[in-house]
Symmetry: C2
Subunit: 89 residues, 2 copies
């Protein structure tokens, strides 16, 4: 029936750059500029990826002055794991 929410979250994972972003966030909250340094993409492209990761709930964002700080969402992670466990009991 309603796979849309699940698909939205899984699609957010379905890109090499976004997986690398998540890998970088594993070690804790990071500024967009730090992520930008590590990836071979332009700033608008990073912004686009971060929007997808945040919109699906996997990543939290926090505005700190002129910086945006991103971190992995505990709640989103749990939701993702529950979803995976649902399909692959």
């Amino acid at each position: 029936m309603g796979y849309r929410e699940d698909v939205k979250m899984v699609k957010a994972l379905a890109d090499e750059n976004r997986l690398e972003i998540l890998q970088l966030l594993k070690s804790g909250e990071k500024c967009a500029c730090v992520l930008l340094d590590e990836l071979n993409i332009t700033q608008p492209t990073l912004s686009h990826h971060m929007k997808l990761l945040c919109d699906c709930g996997l990543v939290n964002y926090r505005k700190d002055g002129k910086w945006m700080r991103y971190s992995i969402s505990k709640e989103g992670s749990e939701k993702l794991k529950e979803m995976i466990n649902h399909y692959f009991m």
Copy 2:
């Protein structure tokens, strides 16, 4: 570095019809014709989806006369869960 294998597996999940296929396979091995009955897609489209699910290792296939029987791969499931746990420890 090498996110390609991870991306391949996650991309296989990133489609509503494929999630529904996995949902149907939860209850056990199913023939392609049964899956086709449940989904609003044509036979070639189903064949395409099954190829993606099998190629990434999430689904096993078994030729039985003129039928193809599909089932969720225990090994693939475990690999997926390990991957998710890697990114969202």
